[in-house]
Each structure stands twice: as structure tokens, then as C-alpha cells.
């Protein structure tokens, strides 16, 4: 569980020694992550005003709790965890949690077994590869917007933020196995959405 953040105003000038490189202040560590925090906050809240509130609240919580940050540990995972916890207690976060269906939660328990791909000769122009190559950014945006929040956050951290499974598990407070199954489900859902778009385009051309 995340360490409790002390209420008192922290000292931004307190330095921590990162595992690589020299000592860093809160400013050094947090300001470069603002664009990434805002991007993820915007995806999750789907609203510019809520995203600004979310980033600001996260930033202030991190600033206050900087004394509890363990030097040498992963600051990015730490601050993303604050963002995620803040999001969960926000209005949009509560709404998103309520809209995750029971089926989706049960599906999480399912093991992604072997042999899900049909046998085929190696081909760099399979329908699946063509589908992804032909998908434009707008189609991918639509597909990502359709993902339920638990799948969206995991794919943002994995693909966009390039976090390791272990870091994602720490941010989301989940076992690594659940992170892996969510990533698999998220990518399967993205592919399914893209297939639907391609089928629609094909029908409209016919």
C-alpha cells in the first residue's frame, strides 16, 4: 500500500539520491513528468478541466508527501501511483469503476491459454497486420476510448509510458499476472475495435 503522505508542507529543496546520477529535488524529478501525467490524466478523465484538476491535485499531494518518497526508489511509479489513486476517488474515476461490468471482472480470472491463433504460413501481409498498418490514428483513438478504464490505464502505462510490468503492478497495486492478463485483454479489445472499423469501411465502399 502507498505510504501515507504527511500533511505538512514538504521541502522542495530536500534532495534525494537517485540510483543513477546525482541528487535530485522534487522540482527536478516532477516537472519533467508533467506532460506524461497530463496525457494519462486526460485519457482517464476524458475532460480537459478534470485532467487539469487531477494533475494539480496529484502534484500537490506528491509535493506534500515528498518526504515519504524513498530515495533510490522509482519516482515515476510513485507519482503515477498518486495520480491513479487520486483518479480513483474523483468523480470520473468513481463513474468509471461503476461502469466496469461483472463479465469484464470475471473475464480477468480467465487464463489466456495457448493456440489462439490459427495455423498459417508466415506472411507479412496477414489481415491482422494489414489491419494495424491501415488503421489511422483516429481509429486507434476511438478504439482506445472504448476501452474500460482498467484496460486503458494498463495499456497507457505499458505502451505509452513504457513502464515495466513490475512498475505497472506497483502503480496499480495488482499482481503481475493480473497486469499481464489486462494487457492481453486490452490488445485483444483494440484489435477487435479496429476490425469493426475496417469491416464498416469495407461495407461503405461496397
Amino acid at each position: 500500500m502507498m505510504a501515507l503522505l504527511p500533511w505538512g508542507v514538504s521541502k522542495t529543496k530536500r534532495t534525494v539520491h537517485e540510483s543513477v546520477g546525482g541528487p535530485s529535488t522534487f522540482e527536478d524529478l516532477a516537472l519533467p513528468l508533467l506532460p506524461a501525467l497530463y496525457n494519462v490524466a486526460s485519457w482517464l478523465s476524458r475532460n480537459a478541466t478534470d485532467a487539469e484538476d487531477l494533475v494539480q491535485e496529484t502534484f500537490l499531494k506528491a509535493l506534500r508527501g515528498f518526504d515519504s518518497f524513498e530515495p533510490g526508489s522509482n519516482f515515476k511509479a510513485w507519482i503515477f501511483r498518486i495520480l491513479r489513486n487520486t483518479y480513483l476517488t474523483s468523480r470520473t474515476g468513481l463513474r468509471a469503476q461503476r461502469t466496469v461490468s461483472l463479465d469484464e471482472q470475471l473475464e480477468e480470472q480467465r487464463d489466456f491459454g495457448p493456440a489462439i491463433y490459427p495455423e498459417a504460413a508466415i506472411d507479412r501481409s496477414t489481415p491482422e497486420i494489414n489491419l494495424i498498418l491501415s488503421a489511422d490514428r483516429a481509429a486507434l483513438h476511438d478504439a482506445m476510448e472504448k476501452l474500460p478504464a482498467p484496460l486503458l490505464e494498463v495499456i497507457l502505462m505499458c505502451d505509452v509510458e513504457e513502464m515495466k510490468y513490475k512498475e505497472i503492478a506497483s502503480v496499480l497495486d495488482l499482481p503481475i499476472g493480473t497486469v499481464m492478463s489486462r494487457i492481453a485483454r486490452a490488445r485483444a479489445a483494440l484489435r477487435k475495435s479496429l476490425e469493426a472499423v475496417t469491416a464498416l469501411n469495407r461495407e461503405s465502399r461496397a
Binding site: A30, Y38, T89, S90, R91, L94, R124, I129, L140, R187
Partner: protein, 271 residues
């Protein structure tokens, strides 16, 4: 070769998360299985496309500047700043030895400028903190409204609710004996604001629900309790005493909310 690589293995492969020993076995399988090689290529392409599409929102410059100022405003309290101030005072003394009246005027100007600068930065930070406080209070209130769980203490009796907090909070407060018309105490929760233990009193005014958050006044906090604020259709109001910060939120008519807050404020002066 009948068993293909699972989606989990393919994902771990493109995410660079396969353990070394599994990577060797996977590579051997891919060398012999065109189907899985196509699937791995497809996964890698999807990952790259998602990474590109996911970089969608640009941080507004004004937000970046606002947050940057928050960190820099705290530098005013650092020892480095005191060293700078000492240097300025030493310079002033040198000037004073040459022309005392001019130095006095200059000193006044510099002090005013420093005070204004500090006041400006602190007041900006306070207003941002206040907005964050209001947003968090709104989230807690909505979470309470949305919850199926009853309050941790269910009682309309102030003599039951107040003692319930003994040992749970590092401070105490009074509850009003007489409430405005159609206003009832419903219960209370122990909750957290900025990770500090806080009393959340639950009242009803007619059919409207009200949350009143009572917390210990922080010596270090620059946050001023909002006298009147609006957020997403909810009204927020409150007051500070020397020991407590009290903030109430509801969608009820602001004058009726103010009546309840006034009753709570008056109760704090009684013993």
C-alpha cells in the same frame, strides 16, 4: 508443432518482459512457426501504433507554469534565500554609511518589493491549494452519496456522534444542540483529507445531504477555508477557528447550508 505461443507470451515478448530462459525457447519456436511469427509481428505493430496514438494530449503551458511556480515559491523559505537576504542587508549598510536617508528609502522599497513578491507567490499557492481542497471535498462527498454503505456511526444524537470520535481524532469539537428547521444529524464517518484524519459529519436538510468536514487547523497549511465556492453545482462554505478548519458541502440552497454552518460555528464557542 501443435501448440502455439499464448497471447500472454507474445505480449511479454513484444514488451521485452520474457525471462531469459523463456526467451530462448520462444525464439526457437518462432524459428519454426510462421503463424506465431506473424502474430508476434502483429503484436509489435499494434504496440507501436498504440504508443504513437496514446501521445495525444499536450500539457497546457499555463498549468505547467502554475505548478512550476508552486515549487519555486517554496524556495523563499530555504536557507539559500536567507543568505541572499543577508547579502542585501550588508549592501544596505554600506550605502547607509554614505547616505543614511537614501538607504532608508531604498531599504523600504526593497523590503516592500520582497514582501509583495512573497505575498503574491504565497497567495497564488494558497488559491491553488484551496481549489485542490474543494475538489477533494467534492470527491469525498460524492463518494459518500454514491456509497451503499451506511455511515460508520448512525445517530441523530450529538451525544453519540461526538464521543465516537474519541481516540480516532487528535482533536475535539462541539456539535450544535439546536439545528435549523428541517435539518437533522444523520451520522458520521472517519475519513481522510490530504491523508489527515478528518471528521465527516452527515446532515440532511430536507432531502438534500450535507457533508461537514472538521479537521485540525494546520500550522503549516497556507490553505484558507473557502468562504463561498461553487463546484459542479455544489456549494462549499466553511469557517476557521484557532484550532479547527470546518468545510461544508451540499447541493442545498446556499442560505440553508449557511444556517447549518453558522450553528456549528456558534457551537465551537460554547463549552
Amino acid at each position: 508443432m501443435t501448440t502455439h505461443l499464448s497471447a500472454t507470451v507474445l505480449n511479454a515478448l513484444v514488451d521485452g518482459e520474457l525471462p531469459v530462459e523463456q526467451f530462448a525457447a520462444t525464439k526457437q519456436h518462432l524459428d519454426q512457426c510462421p503463424s506465431c511469427t506473424s502474430s508476434a509481428l502483429s503484436q509489435a505493430l499494434l504496440k507501436t501504433a498504440t504508443a504513437r496514438a496514446g501521445q495525444r494530449y499536450t500539457l497546457p503551458p499555463q498549468l505547467q507554469e502554475r505548478l512550476r511556480r508552486i515549487t519555486s515559491s517554496q524556495e523563499l523559505h530555504t536557507p539559500l534565500d536567507r543568505h541572499d537576504s543577508s547579502a542585501k542587508i550588508w549592501t544596505m549598510r554600506r550605502i547607509a554609511s554614505l547616505a543614511l536617508p537614501i538607504a532608508a528609502v531604498l531599504l523600504l522599497l526593497v523590503s516592500s518589493s520582497l514582501l509583495m513578491q512573497r505575498y503574491g507567490k504565497n497567495s497564488e499557492r494558497a488559491s491553488i491549494e484551496q481549489a485542490a481542497l474543494v475538489a477533494q471535498i467534492l470527491d469525498l462527498h460524492i463518494a459518500t452519496l454514491a456509497s451503499d454503505q451506511p455511515p460508520e456511526v448512525i445517530s441523530s444524537d450529538r451525544h453519540t456522534v461526538k464521543p465516537w470520535f474519541q481516540g480516532k481524532l487528535p482533536f475535539s469539537f462541539n456539535l450544535p444542540e439546536n439545528l435549523p428547521a428541517d435539518t437533522h444529524l444523520e451520522g458520521a464517518n472517519l475519513t481522510y483529507l490530504h491523508n489527515r484524519a478528518v471528521a465527516q459529519l452527515l446532515y440532511s436538510i430536507g432531502r438534500h445531504r450535507v457533508s461537514v468536514f472538521i479537521q485540525e487547523r494546520s500550522q503549516t497549511s497556507t490553505t484558507q477555508n473557502p468562504q463561498q465556492a461553487e463546484h459542479s453545482g455544489f456549494h462549499v462554505t466553511g469557517f476557521d477557528t484557532s484550532d479547527l478548519e470546518v468545510t461544508a458541502i451540499s447541493d442545498v440552497d446556499p442560505s440553508r447550508l449557511a444556517g447549518l454552518v453558522r450553528a456549528i460555528e456558534e457551537a465551537q464557542t460554547k463549552h
